[in-house]
């Protein structure tokens, strides 16, 4: 099993190169305008710092989200709830670390084991993903609607859990997830890399990747072939929820506080953009590497805006334009029109 359904050579490779070129273009542009953009330095405390590291660090959350979103997108679905699930996971963590915040008490002493603080929110996130998956696969609601409802509800749940407050928890071991360093690089970068590698291994080394693509390309045919389409679909949503939960933990750890209103606000748009720019098809072939590069492109756009001192919201306009241009380029119709146009030009020349 080498993961190829068709006889054509992988069209994703060509696309991947395009996407990589896009990232290079943005970085190059920044370099030209401000040469100090690429400055990276190793500091006395063993940590590597610089703008590029910032992009990787800040982009880690979107990378993690994009990995989960890729698989969902490949099955022909979408998950708009990832930001809200991030908030819920963060709220759960806050409740475990500092249950007495609402009464004005300091952080819990002793702290619950780090593994537990991570496990419980992740389980809740997976549960929310399961609900999404069940609504899509069993109740047959369109993914966009099902996850739209979850986006709404999960954020309400997060606010409810911390009663609208923003618990803070400085200095507890948990914050290492967001602030810690390993071999000079920030921990979130390592976590994102791990998530990416593990997912690539699982989807490429097992039949899972093929099944996901099959379900996305032709659900009925896959079912007749004996693939358990409902299970696969639900599984992708559970995994996406897991990724959202993990991204949420990394985020609140980095901030040393959980803000139920702000955590993950609008980040689903970044995640979806990352997947689409990366080249994954809506219902079909997926590329995790593409999604990672797509996430980095999105993050670079944000960082460029900050770096150039433009108002943050300019990045929204940039992301919108980039996304629609990429989607157009990828659209088959555009190719059809172009082919038609080319054909009519050729026939006119022949005359």
């Amino acid at each position: 099993m080498d993961g190829k359904l068709l006889q054509n050579p992988n069209p994703l490779t060509k696309r991947f190169l395009f996407v990589l070129a896009g990232l290079a273009a943005i970085l190059l542009l920044n370099l030209i305008i401000s040469p100090e953009f690429f400055q990276v330095s190793l500091h006395e405390d063993g940590k590597i710092r610089g703008n590029l590291i910032n992009i990787l660090n800040n982009g880690a959350r979107v990378c993690i989200l994009a990995v989960g979103m890729t698989l969902v997108y490949a099955t022909g679905g979408i998950d708009l709830s990832v930001g809200s699930v991030m908030a819920t996971a963060g709220a759960m963590a806050a409740l475990m670390i500092r249950p007495g915040y609402l009464q004005g008490l300091p952080v819990a002493n002793p702290q619950p084991p780090l593994l537990l603080i991570m496990a419980v929110p992740l389980l809740i996130a997976m549960l929310l993903g399961l609900i999404n998956g069940a609504l899509v696969a069993l109740v047959r609601i369109q993914p966009i609607i099902a996850t739209l409802i979850m986006m709404y509800s999960a954020r309400g749940l997060a606010v409810l859990m911390v009663e609208g407050q923003t618990p803070t928890y400085h200095g507890v071991p948990f914050t290492k997830l967001g602030l810690g360093y390993f071999l000079g690089l920030p921990l979130p970068v390592w976590i994102a890399a791990a998530v990416f590698l593990i997912t690539v291994l699982v989807t490429k080394r097992t039949a899972l990747g093929v099944f996901i693509e099959a379900v996305g390309e032709n659900r009925k045919a896959s079912r007749y072939m004996g693939i358990r389409t409902r299970l696969i679909t639900m599984g992708t949503y559970v995994f996406c929820g897991l990724c959202a939960g993990l991204a949420g933990l990394v985020h609140v750890a980095g901030e040393s506080s959980t803000s139920p209103y702000n955590t993950g606000n609008m980040i689903e748009l970044d995640a979806i953009a990352a997947v689409i720019i990366g080249g994954t098809m809506w219902g079909g072939r997926f590329t995790l590497a593409g999604s990672i590069v797509g996430a980095l492109i999105i993050q670079s756009l944000s960082t460029t805006v900050y770096f150039q001192r433009w108002p943050y919201e300019y990045s929204l306009v940039f992301k919108a334009v980039v996304l629609i241009v990429v989607a157009l380029i990828q659209s088959e119709k555009l190719r059809a029109y172009a082919a038609q146009g080319w054909a009519s030009i050729k026939s006119r020349r022949a005359r």
Binding site: S153, G156, P311, E313, V317, I324, S331
Partner: protein, 330 residues
Amino acid sequence: MNSFKKLPKLSVNNIPILTTISIFFLMYAAASIMFPGFFSLYNFVNIFKTNAFVGIIAVGMTFVIISGGIDLSVGSVVAFTSIFIAKMHQSYGMPSWISMLICLGIGLVLGLSIGCLITYFELPEFLVTLVAMFLMRGLAYVVHQGTISIQDDPFIAFMKRTGIRVGAGNLSLYVWVFILILILGILVSKYTRFGRNVYAVGGNESSAVLMGLPVKRTKVLIYVMSSLLATLGGIVFTIHLASGKPHNTIGLELHVIASVVIGGTLLTGGAGRVIGTFFGVLIYGLVFKLPAYISAFREWWAQILVGLLVLTFILIQTFVAEKTARAVES
């Protein structure tokens, strides 16, 4: 006596809309009993004033969803419209009615672009309208980053001041826009060819194509209509608040879609009534009134309740769809 024989049959297709209307009346009755002061013309008028702008947008969204599509950009369009009108007034002294017309023009262009990208380039609706949502929100911030109050604009003052005095409240002109759009929406959906085409496209697009219906044109028109109504909703919103803010109405699209679903419109397309959306908007408005009456019922409970209502209606729809499919097979 004869007239009673003509009572409508309880056909399966009517279940969603009847449920919607019943829920609304039950809620209203319950609230009237539980809360002193609820059952009054003042309160009734207020529900309309608060939700007028949502209702206008929801009429457009109904058509979009009936055709099997979705429009995620409406919230951002409202925010952009409001800050644009406010900024033009503050920086250039532009009378609001002129900037409102400009916004309608922008809405037209936006709707055309969205419609064409979806129809002629076959890009997924959620993607195109998601990008539009990004774009308009970003442009709103580009126009101005903070809040701008609109003072001393004659048109806005006129729209707010003029109206019918009903009890202790004033049914201002801008609310009448909502009622007008509602009536137009009902008429278009039932009595025009465009309306019928929308239902056909939503029911089964390939059949509609085979039947020779102008599917492409219909789809583009639907998104033009949605963007125009979103802009109009934004105009009414600006009048209502007399200010503009790019930060406004984040999440409005959820509000609108939820209202349409609670109104009984099928998410899979092909069925739904504008009048249902009207009640859906009112139900949503009612749920969010509750926190001001019951201290323990906080706004996040309202969010959860609406989520449950939406889920209930989706389940009802699935049930109805299955029943209909079985009826067709037999």
